[in-house]
Subunit: 266 residues, 4 copies
Amino acid sequence: MAVTYRPSHADATYDAKYGLRNYQGGGRSSARETIGRVAAGAIAKKILRQVTGAEVIGYVKRIQDIEGTVDPASVTLDQVESNIVRCPDAEAAVRMIDRVEAIRDQGDSIGGVVECVARGVPKGLGMPVFDKLEADLAKGVMSLPASKGFELGSGFAGTLLTGSQHNDEFYTDESGEIRTRTNRSGGTQGGIANGEPIIIRVAFKPTATIRKAQNTVTQTGAETVLAAKGRHDPCVLPRAVPMVEAMVALVLCDHLLRHHGQCELF
Amino acid sequence: MAVTYRPSHADATYDAKYGLRNYQGGGRSSARETIGRVAAGAIAKKILRQVTGAEVIGYVKRIQDIEGTVDPASVTLDQVESNIVRCPDAEAAVRMIDRVEAIRDQGDSIGGVVECVARGVPKGLGMPVFDKLEADLAKGVMSLPASKGFELGSGFAGTLLTGSQHNDEFYTDESGEIRTRTNRSGGTQGGIANGEPIIIRVAFKPTATIRKAQNTVTQTGAETVLAAKGRHDPCVLPRAVPMVEAMVALVLCDHLLRHHGQCELF
Amino acid sequence: MAVTYRPSHADATYDAKYGLRNYQGGGRSSARETIGRVAAGAIAKKILRQVTGAEVIGYVKRIQDIEGTVDPASVTLDQVESNIVRCPDAEAAVRMIDRVEAIRDQGDSIGGVVECVARGVPKGLGMPVFDKLEADLAKGVMSLPASKGFELGSGFAGTLLTGSQHNDEFYTDESGEIRTRTNRSGGTQGGIANGEPIIIRVAFKPTATIRKAQNTVTQTGAETVLAAKGRHDPCVLPRAVPMVEAMVALVLCDHLLRHHGQCELF
Amino acid sequence: MAVTYRPSHADATYDAKYGLRNYQGGGRSSARETIGRVAAGAIAKKILRQVTGAEVIGYVKRIQDIEGTVDPASVTLDQVESNIVRCPDAEAAVRMIDRVEAIRDQGDSIGGVVECVARGVPKGLGMPVFDKLEADLAKGVMSLPASKGFELGSGFAGTLLTGSQHNDEFYTDESGEIRTRTNRSGGTQGGIANGEPIIIRVAFKPTATIRKAQNTVTQTGAETVLAAKGRHDPCVLPRAVPMVEAMVALVLCDHLLRHHGQCELF
């Protein structure tokens, strides 16, 4: 790897931009970089909880084609942490673990989807045009290594419905709060939180570095074959959960400060 | 609509945040807001073309379940503009138009997916951590009205593959350039452009405002039924194409300036 | 002026940077540009007054060597607006007006100093390192056309004193508030407001465009002589007062929002 | 100092804003904070020198009322570093050192003025409205501890001249370059560098912490007397020189990158 580019790894583009790279561990392209985000996210979660009561919970929703059944409205941290793939659906978790082990034994890797819910986020957080809440959430999680897609609420599947099927009807609950009966919007409308749970999903591709042999080139362009050695995650999904949580918490906390400064001054 | 909230429309959240709203046309929540982006995007496209030769082309990839077959590597602006739904697959376009007309007659609405390709983007544009190219693209398009999802390259579908299936093998082309044989990465690796076409997709939900009657509440929380009157788009997809193109061009142009300032100074 | 550079005017540097300029009125180099700042400043002043009771008052402190005697602790807007040079010292104002008229008749120009006080600014506004309150105030007013210097509190004159002469002793006032007996600090310490009046001064150079003949060059570098025609202010000081007030109000209002968001959330 | 506020020191305002402070060494209010700026400034200077040939040299211009005679056009780093007060005028430096020692023996402190010149800065660096070069320079140095004033070129003294005396006449030099015969502008016009040396001055107040007894209050507002113990600089001026140089170099380097990205793309 000192002279060879790993297919679909950032060391080639980093080298193209800066003329250097750290092939040992990936340098700034390594997911180790997110440690600072996760640390800051822990503080952000604490502020959100103390000031608003909001909580942010992420979990593995799907690994390759194995999808867990999870209710974002009620999922708990204990359920997430009850197994090593961080999937709250215990039965799916077993199958996910089996799959990851089988893939690891093949010297290959797999990806999947992390889902994250933020419950109790106050109505009004966000901005109507430039820094829409969903736009900042998208930027936050799409800055995580290996992320390839972002969805809010109904996401891509929602595009198959008609408006009359998709729209979230309003009603007034027993405490007089205006709420929506469904939550296909995923907790925001037009960039601003509507008080319902914020639900996002992030697609993570299979890890680029694998032990299987692949065709590639060296830094000077000579064609070669690479089979990575050493310890490489066959599936980043369980480790991606705290990263996604951290980015969601940081974005929400930033918007809490901005909303408080801008709208609750008077 | 003067006193009633439209389901899944931003006028309720705007009202919750600011204590006022413009129900006539939607005010700042209207997609009319994007006119400035489209105008600026036209200049960004011109800069990209003149300085780098890059071109940005968006098109309707799917309306509800009708998907066009389009090759991002070769699609042309003329093909996009050859029909009113802006789908370069002429046969699919006919079916899309029929569907939109049928939905309009029902007083309902539908959504879909816009795909956008940027060809000729120089290697190196982007940033390795804070302002990753895909993160800024995601923020750009997720700030467009009605957007619910973002994908780069293989996106969510790519999570079903293994690493050995998904990785883009490198090779050296006849001109000595290091390239990839496939483009599941969608043109970036680790936040930085790799010189291959940048390919993104954006999910747009069905338009919120429909003529069909829906249960909702008034500003004071009283339950009521709303059936919108006036002219409302049954499908925003064709109009979303120039918006997506504009945001992609603006993000790429910003990164071109930053890359030139940072990396081509010496 | 269509082909000739005015000495000490920005049209030469604007041309050097952008390859074009607007010699008629100065284009973006004209002080007309500040109209948006003054309009926004009016809103900022209103927010400051409503939320904190603070008020921002600027006035002409000196024109050339004629200095007014003004007490920043008690000066009123009526006093400022009682004469056309906006100097609250009526006697000095008469001499200033005479001086400006004499200079105008000579086809020449003069400069001076605007002082601005913000009274009632809450303790705590500001930041300890990156966006110090005095740093943002300095940037704000040094972005005004023709400004050449900025002082806070004792400013340059304070450098002639010893620490024991210069330090502002603390005491506790009758209402239990910790205050300072003197205000050489000018209302901030270490980037953060201390609750005393914020007092700044801005040096404005004599207007560049004058009717007197001056040696200069054309755009192509040919030496020539220029004597400006048309209406040109012989002294910008009275017109600079609202600009300085606006920038001070905008900076304080920004910091009010930031402080409220950051420190008054809990 | 654990319970008592030092007059004119930032520990009181820091406490007012955040509810805590580090009285030992001053915490974030200490000038030690600038170590990161000086380190970054060293890199900025290197970039400026390599890319543009520009050099940034700061020096002590005045301590209390003792002013050195220094020619910014020719001053060298060796001259600055030839004595411990960093004043290139050797005769004045001797008197400054005597003064500082006498003041130190009295348990008091003094301030003064640092001047800084940037020679060889390319024409065009800067911005016409929002981030004027002189505005960013002012913000940069006014964010340094103990700074109370900023001047560019003729500064406050220039306000005593008429326009015909103050304006810098243009001429074409032997190499065909448009230059100015004088440099009262201090190297910028309207926010943009004109190619002449950029000359700024920064006022630093006498150090707040002194051994002489001063009236003050405790954190709870009780009146007391404080006489600081331990090592405290009687004059920060020599140590402020590298800080000013660093901020000037950082601001110029930022503008070099921006100018290159924005104006030299085509």
